[in-house]
Symmetry: C2
Subunit: 337 residues, 2 copies
Amino acid sequence: MSQERFSTLLSSPTSPPRGASQYVIGADIGGTSLRLALADGSGTILGRWSASTTGIRDAALVLRRMRNGVDALLQDASLLPESLCAIAAGAPGVTDVDKGIVIATSYLMGWRDVPLREMLEAEFGVPAFIDNDVNLAALGEMKAGLAQGETDFVFLAIGTGIGAGIVVKSEIHRGSSWTAGEIGYMLVPGTSEVPVTLGEPGALESLVGGEGIKQLWQGRWNPDDTPLPRDVTATQIFDHALEGNSLAQEILQLVARTLAYAIYNISLILNSPLFVLGGGVGIHPALGNATRQVLDGREARVQPRLICSALGADAQLIGAIFLGLQMVTKQVDLADG
Amino acid sequence: MSQERFSTLLSSPTSPPRGASQYVIGADIGGTSLRLALADGSGTILGRWSASTTGIRDAALVLRRMRNGVDALLQDASLLPESLCAIAAGAPGVTDVDKGIVIATSYLMGWRDVPLREMLEAEFGVPAFIDNDVNLAALGEMKAGLAQGETDFVFLAIGTGIGAGIVVKSEIHRGSSWTAGEIGYMLVPGTSEVPVTLGEPGALESLVGGEGIKQLWQGRWNPDDTPLPRDVTATQIFDHALEGNSLAQEILQLVARTLAYAIYNISLILNSPLFVLGGGVGIHPALGNATRQVLDGREARVQPRLICSALGADAQLIGAIFLGLQMVTKQVDLADG
């Protein structure tokens, strides 16, 4: 089993010493996959587990799958079930962190007001914490990624869709009703102005999200013009752009320009010095480079740095583990008090 | 002399009692006018004074004019010069609040790295505080306007140009290099994508700022189509729209749609529940109503409230007075300690 220590997460001198007897689960619940990591009290990842969630819309089914994963992870690490102290999970949607409720996820899962924290606590018998997955990824980047030491930055997750995790003064900015950073509906030059129904892909998402990029390709694809197939993923399109395919390059430029406009707008509003691109589509180097070129071409009093995440898909899991460990520390604090 | 008490600003029970012997000046330095207000320690405004700054680009000249105004205000209130305890001023540009420097103002004044706080302290011999004028207006709205009691809101000042004062968790969000809220360059559907040089009116400002609105009118104006003159102000155009003039209505709709898109984008990013429209152009009821209609036509998980400022041009002055009083309290605290 791989042993990785991503960071000494809880370095506060007032924290109680953490024994190896405290274990936490970090979970990333996505529309296509469920990923888990088991970590000890020092932040060392002891094991990982993943399963498909494609087609699963019922939260209870996701939890059953999670149960299997947690059991397998504990067993592999030769740990008793009671070794587990906390669980923290990221959900792909608007999440009320205080109440522990997933208010709404995208069209893929279609959750509405799912009391996920309560369900996790009932299933695993330990304190649970939930948050939006992009917020957890931003936290992961801040604690163990390229945004370490930054007090203000924006994490942009581009996978099927797009979302932002906004960090202001070292804290996640979640907004007055938990929707801060839900930028998939943003309007920039080139996006459709036609109002869309909630749950449908938004204006920005349609041009910058992985699913939208695929559809851009399919809409322009013509077998007479290109030897490439009609069915390709967003990252494959970016690969083809790097290899010189002209249709792929055209789409890459359109995506990069639209993304650059969104970053430019966020930067004007927040004056964040750093943007971290994450998610399966977002970390493709061709996208980062092309977007940076568009940004460099615009005058701006403050040009934010744009970098690609080095943590990749681990950002969410690491953020979740961090939160899990934080909960354990609080429990210890309470026990001490 | 008018006696207004806008609010009991410093209501903290731990604040020392404020005597009537503490007086502060709040100043609003604009590209076309300089406005001052004298207030006593309880926040009662004892007098106001204003002068034109049109054509004055030199900060030292602005200060000389301010000296005249402060002397007149103190004299009118039968106060000795040494009664003045603090001065707080809003400047129309990017302002480093910590260093007390106006980094840059718009093309109207053209200031670069003006050490305004130091200049004010040298001129008046009292502690001074400076901030961006829109940030001060947001503070004024929070302390004495319709945003009282709100912890998160956005103040949009629309006069010659457009700027936003962003309040997050009851604090002004100024950004990592003091440019947060400088949204004049924002890109939304309909704005020009051509990069502009810094200092020039930005993409959004060209369609939503007072000067840009005038130019929209002049660009479409034809004496054969309308009995109205070519030279009208933005607010006159909105008045004509209310009276049924079709060109004016067309321009109002374009401005409202563009402004609604900007508000929509800011709302997606920040999830602020309240937007307050201020500034000479922004408080025109026709603009608020038309913008609200566009926003209502878009699906949004969270529809922010959009209201017009009731303080109007007083917002900046009240914000400045509040900061001045805060400084006096700190002085007293220090003296007590």
